[in-house]
Amino acid sequence: MAKTEFTIKTNDLNKCFKNVKAVQGVNLAVRKGDVYGFLGPNGAGKTTTIKMILGLTHPDSGNVFINGKNTSKSGVDLRARIGYLPERAQLYKNLTAIQTLNFFAELRKADKKECDELLNKVGLTQWRDTKVGTFSKGMVQLLGISQALLGDPKLLILDEPTSGLDPRWSRILKDVILEKNSKGTTIFFSSHLLFEVQELCNRVAILNKGKLIIEDTVDKISEGVHLKPQLILTISGDTKAAVKILKKGGFDSQLVGDQIKVLVEPDQKAKVLNLLEDNGFVIQDFITKEPSLEKAFIEIIGDEAGVGGDINEA
């Protein structure tokens, strides 16, 4: 067995459902300590890949290694230190929050004292003895997150963890992810929302139509697609005329509200400012926005059909 530097490594994973090739030749490498974002539009095969990593779905071909051990040959103990939350999971309607966590704590051989601490952490303490059947979607999701944290897992696999959470609860989750990671837990989470990934991850893989398109650091991906930074200008005077002049000067610019947005290479910024000043405009303020991963994402998969509308939500 090779030196085990990877927490998760997949080797040419393939899975077909009837005629649909859900996952094709996917090779992932998640390093120990990564916050790894698994991106792709809905239906890209993210969930299927995650289920294969966990042994819930059997791959048609290919292997999964967790901490260097082949999951198809190892026993269930390999999953002892993995916390997992499926997308939009429901739990047991007739059990209370604490009964649910106690059940999972027993299964993981975790200390039951953790259950109340975790309920507190996700803000569900007051619903401790309430049946899960009466919970809102967001509350069920929080309970799902707390079960994933039982027994201090070394690897957290979260499938679209923020779906169904309002921004406040989303924040709780992100804080938990960052806190766990700072203590050495490797995090693997999927999302179709780019800003989430950009905010949290150091490494990203993008999956589209079952194929891995790119796997790299967030910076490298943004760099790799040669996106121009955006210059946002606030000027006094006739903004429409200013945009015309900029366009004539060969700059990709548009008026958004009172602001002018110009896509420009970093070394051309001064030229934009000079051009406006030469034409008598007074620049009150300007900021530069670096290209976002969202732009890279759309650029990378945008030319292929099937980019879901929800990508634009980001």
Partner: protein, 281 residues
């Protein structure tokens, strides 16, 4: 993956199934109905003289043959397909617990719910019979309870099997409904074949049923097998019920019936296990 079996994990799963399903509204309603109906029967048929043990047995049989399969199917039909659809099964199987531990844990847990339901239904009516001066055959009554639990296990095993094979919750519900109707009509179908091939209705009422009917119902109809075994449990090899005479032939022995009941429980359970191991959850 090699099979792994740890009894403490089976127990943890079973306990969760028990707690979750005992509070299932449908199961509570059906159990309550079961208790009420058995009480009514024991009052009506046993309250007075209680000379006629056959009437009490037949009355209770009519209720248990109907309600126990329903309760068992309700418990089993969505235990795998439903939990896979709601994704709670994904969470469970991401834990360090094997497929066999989850599968058999579910069977044990759901069986206990079924047993509690049955014991409540018969236990309360049993107490009433004793209190009203009955209780002439407590052993027969105990055998009645145990056999009823076995009947439930047959339907539980079959519905878990369907739940394991079928992907969607709704299809496994349809399968459960089909299973229930089959349990209700297979006896009549066999009787229909008998009448259609020159048999007479008097063969049934006069204790003159041909052997092939005994054999085919014994093999194909768990409910009939159950009912026959109850008669044998009460030593009613020859029974007279409101003009009907039933004479159970010698080869339909309690031992044979128990073997058939066991096969009905074990085979579907094993088939379901095979599919559960292969299943993409």
């Amino acid at each position: 993956m090699k099979p792994e079996f740890n009894f403490s994990n089976v127990f943890i799963i079973a306990k969760k199934e028990f707690m979750d399903n005992l509070r299932n509204n449908w199961i509570m309603i059906l159990t309550l109905l079961f208790i009420i109906l058995t009480l009514v029967i024991s009052f009506v048929s046993g309250g007075g003289s209680l000379g006629d043990v056959e009437i009490t047995v037949v009355g209770l049989l009519a209720i248990s043959s109907l309600l126990i399969p329903i309760i068992a199917i309700m418990l089993g039909y969505d235990t795998i397909s439903g939990e896979a659809e709601s994704r709670s099964l994904l969470v469970v199987q991401s834990y360090p617990v094997s497929r066999e531990e989850v599968y058999f844990g579910k069977f044990v847990g759901l069986s206990s719910v079924l047993a509690v339901s049955t014991l409540l239904g018969f236990g309360i009516s049993g107490l009433v019979i004793m209190a009203t001066g009955g209780g002439t055959n407590p052993v027969g009554f105990l055998v009645f309870m145990l056999l009823t639990i076995l009947l439930g296990l047959i339907y539980l095993s079959m519905s878990i099997c369907f739940s394991s094979i079928l992907k969607r919750n709704t299809t496994s519900l349809y399968a459960g409904i089909a299973l229930f109707f089959w349990s209700m009509i297979i006896g009549s179908v066999i009787m229909g074949i008998h009448l259609g091939t020159g048999g007479t209705f008097e063969d049934f009422t006069g204790g003159n049923m041909p052997d092939w009917i005994w054999i085919s119902t014994m093999i194909l109809s768990p409910t009939d097998t159950y009912q026959t075994s109850i008669f044998l449990g009460f030593d009613l090899q020859v029974a007279d019920i409101s003009g009907f005479t039933i004479i159970i032939p010698d080869f339909v022995s309690m031992a044979n019936l128990l073997v058939i009941i066991t096969i009905w429980i074990v085979i579907p359970l094993a088939v379901g296990y095979y599919f559960y191991r292969k299943r993409d959850i």
